[in-house]
Amino acid sequence: MDNAIMAKGNVKMELPLMDWVKQVLEYLGGERDERPPGFPFELSNWLFWGLWWGALCLLIFLFCGQSSKFIYIDF
């Protein structure tokens, strides 16, 4: 959090984007317990997890064909 710009009270909390993404991933992975500022979901939110798994499934669906040897690609 060295380069994070943090403030408390009514002032908006700002983080450089990559730091914020890192914190979100750490939060999702269980490495940190506190929710990063601006991240809207609690991990106990079942809807969030449904959407999160769906997003992961979509990414897998899109990118799992890379081992295919495309010769024809007109479809």
């Binding site: 079942w46 449904g50 959407l51 979509l58 495309f70 479809f75």
Partner: protein, 336 residues
């Protein structure tokens, strides 16, 4: 964090709803995939006089208007290029059946082939059912299964996957990602030659790796019958009353010289003739018809100008050659 068992099941339910939505999106966005477009064209052309089936060699090489001009057919009762790129004889058989089942009674069925397409057994795996070959998931899948080999594991996967649009048409999305990868890979690189089917140089991969390998495959194929989907194309085409013409498609002069002007190919060609001609099927060797290699878009496919030349000449040939045994159509021929 607390996450109850009930929350977990709610999450699964949300995921399920999302997957249903994604399947609906995939089904909607692929409703006009190339096989479906082709089937739509066949539905709208019941008065077709000449039906051309095959793979992308027919797809790129059969020009309907040039053929109609050569054969002096009127456009509204002319020919239909009903080929499917990246297809095997199984899909080509399914397309023939589709046309015949949709009130089409062609007088002539042209079947274009190259190399050992008529003799190479069809062995597939789950990874092969992408692109146009996805048609095997939804066009008479149970019927088609008897014409190709799948391992028990792949058979189970096939049965599960064919019910989900995300699985059936996954190749359409993979192709978009692949195009993106190619576009990114092309940044700052010399432009690669491409055509309607893909990268031109890639199609050399579909030729035999060596003369010896090709000759050996020809020798082996010369001792065996044609594969069952090809025999079915003959049988069902003839049952419909059509004149069947097998066309050895024009190939680049380099391909002809290397692979076709050899004793092995001559032997194989005679072997095929001896199988199909007694069945009343005509064999037309058009492999030498395009003598300028520059008229080919890639190692296999004719360019537009070559397609026009080939198609008009083919039309003229079929107009002048009398049919050897055209029968009256038999509408019950597809019941088997």
């Amino acid at each position: 964090m607390t996450f109850s068992a009930r929350g977990f099941y709610y999450s699964l339910a949300a995921l399920l709803i999302l997957m249903v939505g994604l399947n609906a999106i995939v089904a909607y966005t692929t409703r006009n995939s190339i096989p479906r477009q082709q089937m739509g064209r066949a539905r709208r052309a019941p008065d077709t006089t000449v039906l051309a089936i095959g793979n992308s060699l027919i797809g790129a090489g059969f020009n309907e208007s040039s053929f109609d001009r050569g054969m002096q057919l009127s456009p509204n009762r002319g020919s239909l290029n009903f080929a499917l790129g990246y297809s095997l004889p199984v899909e080509q058989l399914l397309f023939l059946r589709f046309a015949l089942q949709h009130q089409m009674h062609p007088r002539i069925v042209i079947y274009g082939f190259y190399d050992l397409q008529l003799s190479t057994p069809v062995r597939l795996a789950t990874r092969d059912f992408v692109g146009n070959r996805a048609v095997l998931y939804y066009l008479e899948p149970e019927y088609a299964r008897q014409f190709y080999y799948l391992s028990p594991h792949d058979r189970i996967e096939f049965e599960i996957m064919r019910h989900f649009p995300m699985m059936v048409d996954r190749g359409a999305f993979w192709a978009k990602i692949e195009r993106l990868r190619r576009d990114i890979g092309q940044q700052g690189m010399p432009a690669e030659r491409t055509n309607q089917f893909g990268r031109a140089d890639d199609f050399a991969l579909l030729e035999a790796k060596s003369d010896a390998e090709f000759a050996s495959a020809c020798d082996q194929a010369s001792n065996e019958d044609l594969i069952s989907p090809v025999l079915e194309i003959i049988r069902q085409g003839q049952d419909s009353g059509a004149r069947i013409v097998f066309v050895e498609m024009p190939m680049r002069p380099a391909h002809v010289k290397r692979f076709y002007e050899t004793p092995a190919w001559e032997k194989y060609r005679e072997h095929v003739r001896h199988i199909i001609e007694p069945k009343g099927v005509e064999y037309l060797d058009a492999s030498h018809w395009i003598s300028d290699g520059a008229l080919f878009d890639d190692p296999l496919h004719m360019g537009h100008q070559a397609a026009e030349q080939f198609s008009e000449r083919l039309g003229q040939y079929l107009r002048h050659e009398s049919p050897s045994g055209t029968q009256s159509p038999n509408p019950n021929s597809l019941q088997r």
